[in-house]
């Protein structure tokens, strides 16, 4: 700045009086924020239990959103969860015992072959557009659910749930017979299925609509305890109570309509915003609670609800026809070679558990293998590898016939604890000379890679929610999912035996026989051929304010809100 200019400038009188108040104001503002920040929100102190209160709106948060309001379409958690509250199923599976109990079907019988299932329907059920729920509606739903409708853009969503579906026969208005080409014992459980792409019943008027028209939520009509009020992709879905609803599953012991007037399913992708909104009282309950948030939330008085996702554990499926996992010694060593305590203590919370079988403990027929093949025994693992001719190389990784013991794993990163759990296993296995190489990627990459799993990957990690032991046949039966890629050429594996043993699960509904078959299936998968290494049981975790009551976890660990109420009734 020139001297001339400075002199001109300093000649002008400065008016500085505003500055002091401004600084004072700024200090006050900062102090105010700091004070408010230290005060903390906290939940309302425990409201009393007691008689359910009618009315109120439940503000619920979850990570995902419904991409379409059509419940038969959706393959994410939000879609199945919301779909369960606007539609009903034929049967209800008791989440504790696994027993199939009545719902829209009052009773049922099946033929000896388990290829024909006859359902006797309730007579008082209507869709929310007033049309009756009857055998015709069951037929129209199942036909479209399995076959899809290309002219309407409807995908064959149910093709994987109901394999070998032939037809539904309408015997009379309230009797429907569902027929399959092969025995399908697991269909009885499938008739209660509440997870992805579920068989929730839609009104005949909805079935006539194209996929695009079904994105108008007002036209998606079910028989459920709630009906759509609005659907905003990416943001929220609002359900309101269905007046006159009176057919909740008898096992729930809930009479009549839902207690809540309205449920708002808010999509909040960011974990800290979900918990922050819960603590500040903007929402009443949230799903998808992170493992690190559980403790702080319960310390602040929020209730943590959780249920393991029934079905298979998160597991490593070994590719039994690809080197080196075609060697049973390698598979057995991996089962024995990692410390489950470490995973439970350092990675999981109390809401999760380390797997002691391929089946999650709540699935009927579950057997505990934690004392035998699924224990931590690095010495034995090393011995098995030694005996099989795997010699430790200079870098600590074992070698056989010039080839290294490198096991390539493909996994999904959709659950937060997956990668840390796999990394813990990786470290332990390295100690006994196995190089487990992890590729844990988002779902589309996983899907793309999985199509090449037979030739490219030794281990594919996944889970499946299906609360029926026949899930083992669906996932590992060589003629079904064939998760372990068992072929006639698999070394040391009798493919016919696997087919037969797993296939038996579809041939009986006698509880004692099923328990026996489920044990044989687990024996052959875990012990005899070591085709799978179960890791941990995933869980669905909810945090809720103390005034929220009666959120139900069903057998697939999805939530139902027909029995939910808020003691403040707001």
């Amino acid at each position: 700045m020139s001297d001339l200019r400075s002199s001109i400038e300093s000649a002008t009188s400065a008016r500085k009086k505003w500055r002091l108040p401004a600084i004072a104001f700024a200090i006050l503002l900062i102090a105010g924020i700091a004070f408010a920040a230290t005060r903390g929100g906290g939940a309302d102190p425990g409201a009393a239990d007691g008689a359910p209160v009618r009315g109120g709106t439940l503000q619920f948060a979850l990570i995902d959103y419904q991409r379409s309001p059509d419940p038969q379409w959706g393959t994410n958690y939000a879609e199945s969860l919301i779909g369960n509250n606007i539609t009903d199923k034929l049967t209800w599976q008791d989440p504790k015992t696994g027993e199939i109990t009545p719902w829209l079907a009052q009773s049922w019988e099946y033929n000896k072959d388990l290829t024909e299932f006859t359902f006797h329907l309730r007579r008082d059920v209507t869709f929310s557009d007033g049309s009756p729920f009857n055998a015709e509606a069951v037929k129209a739903n199942f036909d479209q659910y399995v076959h899809g409708d290309p002219s309407l853009g409807i995908l064959p969503n149910g093709a994987t749930l109901l394999p070998g579906y032939l037809e539904t026969r309408v015997v009379d208005e309230y009797t429907a017979v569902v027929r399959f080409e092969k025995p399908l014992a697991s269909f009885l459980q499938a008739s209660s299925f509440t997870a992805n792409a579920q068989p929730g019943f839609l009104s005949p008027s909805t079935l006539k609509l194209s996929a695009q028209q079904r994105t108008d939520p007002k036209k998606v009509i079910g028989t459920g305890p709630f009906v759509y009020e609005s659907w905003e992709p990416q943001a929220k879905t609002v359900l309101v109570k269905r007046n006159g609803y009176n057919w909740a599953p008898p096992a729930l012991r809930h009479q009549g309509e839902a207690y809540l007037d309205r449920i708002v399913f808010n999509t909040i992708p960011e974990a800290s915003v979900r918990t922050g909104s819960l603590v500040s009282g903007t929402i009443d309950a949230t799903l998808d609670v992170g493992t690190t948030d559980e403790k702080p939330l319960s310390a602040q008085g929020f209730e943590i609800l959780h249920r393991g996702v029934s079905g298979t554990a998160i597991r490593f499926d070994f590719n039994s026809s690809l080197f080196p996992t075609n060697d049973i010694a390698v598979r057995k060593a991996i089962q024995l070679g990692w410390d489950r305590q470490t995973v439970q203590k350092t990675i999981l919370t109390d809401s999760y558990s380390v797997a002691n079988s391929i089946l999650e403990p709540s699935v009927p027929g579950h057997v505990d293998y934690s004392g035998s093949v699924l224990k931590y025994d690095p010495e034995q693992a090393a011995r098995i590898l030694d005996e099989a001719g795997w010699v430790t190389g200079p870098d600590g990784i074992r070698v056989k016939e010039g080839k290294k013991l490198v096991v390539k794993l493909l996994g999904i990163n959709n659950l937060v604890v997956n990668k840390p759990a796999y990394e813990s296993i990786q470290q332990d296995l390295r100690k006994i000379g196995i190089d487990l190489q992890l590729t844990v990627v988002p779902i589309p990459d996983y899907t793309a890679q999985q199509a090449k799993a037979k030739t490219d990957w030794n281990v594919v990690a996944a889970n499946r929610s299906r609360n029926d032991p026949a899930v083992l046949n669906l996932q590992y039966g060589p003629q079904n999912g064939n998760g372990a890629y068992v072929t006639k050429d698999s070394t040391g594996v009798d493919a016919d035996e696997v087919t037969q043993v797993l296939g038996r699960l579809e041939t009986t509904l006698d509880p004692a026989a099923r328990t026996q078959y489920a044990k044989e299936a687990q024996d052959i998968l875990l012990d005899k051929y070591a085709l799978v290494n179960p890791v941990y049981n995933p869980s669905q975790v909810i945090a809720q304010a103390p005034y929220v009551h009666g959120i139900v976890f069903d057998a697939q660990s999805r939530n139902h809100f027909v029995d939910t109420w808020k003691s403040d009734g707001k």
Binding site: S2, E9, A37, S68, A159, P233, Q234, I268, T447, R464
Partner: protein, 325 residues
């Protein structure tokens, strides 16, 4: 002049066509079979082959690639990008549905960023205290280096969870916009402010300013009356270019504040490899950018008399045209 317009319009059309073709090629180079993506990955092995064939057929994935390309191009020319694989909705409808939300966010943040930038430049120029000038001049650098994710969460912690002044998620009128706008405007204001500070300083030292001083103008009169007007134009130019960054930045802002919008939709579409949707979004964004550039190209001669003169004197095709960006 006509030749100039045709040239610029042709270039815009080429950009859009190239975006369409590139995404199409990418989709088919990707390792995934589009049919696989329609099913739950854990059930992929149990999908019967006839079901797979039926689905491929209904989406047209089994036709020769060239036919698929021409078919899609033909439809796209009529504004039809097919249906989203993940929702069954029409791609154009989905994009047009979320667009206003992103536009409000982007335009609002841009305006706010300009206000912040001008405020910084004005303070830096008009203050006579070296320490204040240094402090203010360091703000743009700081604002660029704070991750949007972090500032968003911080703002939420204070103004939403603790003070309860603004909603923490969703869309509840103007109050839902305040925090996302601030979050998005902070990093965008940085580059604009830096440019402004430099321009202001340069203008402040120029001859006509000294003349004003000599005529007895006050400091504020000089800054507002002379410097502000003349130093603002470059900032407006860069603001238009920054618009692209805003759309990109909206992905994180929309995720943190759980707002619906194009950013989050793009992310979901890519995460689920919803191919028709990805293509629709890419082409749409390309159209927007091509249009903005075209408009700027066409307006430029109207604003700058020197440029108009080049049309009068034939100096070869678009000779002497100055276009930055």
């Amino acid at each position: 002049m006509l030749r100039y317009v045709a040239l610029k319009a042709g270039r815009a059309a080429f950009v859009v066509w190239a975006a369409f073709t590139l995404t199409f090629v990418l989709l088919f180079v990707l390792p995934a079979n589009p049919v696989d993506l329609l099913f739950d990955p854990t059930e992929l092995n149990s999908v019967p082959p006839e079901v797979r064939a039926q689905v491929a057929d209904s989406y047209g994935f089994n036709e020769p690639v060239l036919l698929q390309y021409l078919g899609r191009l033909g439809h796209a020319l009529r504004g039809d990008f097919g249906t989203s694989v993940q929702s069954g909705q029409s791609v154009s409808a989905v994009v047009l549905d979320v667009l206003p939300h992103t536009l409000v966010l982007a335009v609002g943040a841009l305006l706010l960023a300009l206000v912040i930038a001008f405020a910084i430049a004005l303070v830096a120029t008009s203050t006579r205290h070296q320490w204040l000038r240094n402090l203010v001049e360091s703000l743009p650098t700081a604002s660029v280096s704070v991750p949007v994710f972090l500032s968003g969460i911080l703002l939420l912690q204070i103004f939403s969870f603790k003070l309860g002044w603004f909603p923490s998620f969703g869309d509840q009128g103007w109050r839902s916009l305040v925090l996302p706008l601030i979050t998005l405007a902070i990093p965008v204001s940085g580059p604009i402010a830096q440019l402004l500070v430099r321009c202001f300083a340069a203008e402040f030292r120029s001859g006509y300013v000294t003349t004003s001083w000599a005529k007895g103008a006050t400091r504020s009169r000089v800054v507002v009356g002379d410097v502000f007007r003349n130093a603002s134009l470059p900032a407006l130019t860069i603001a238009a270019v920054t618009f692209g960054n805003l759309v990109a930045g909206s992905v994180i802002t929309e995720t943190v504040f759980a707002r619906k919008g194009l950013g989050r939709m793009t992310q979901t579409a890519i995460n689920t490899l919803d191919l028709p949707l990805v293509q629709g979004i890419v082409v749409f964004v390309a159209v927007t950018f091509a249009l903005i550039n075209l408009v700027v190209d066409l307006i430029y001669p109207l604003l700058d008399p020197r440029l108009r003169a080049t049309f009068a004197v034939p100096t070869g095709p678009s000779g002497g045209l100055r276009r930055t960006s």
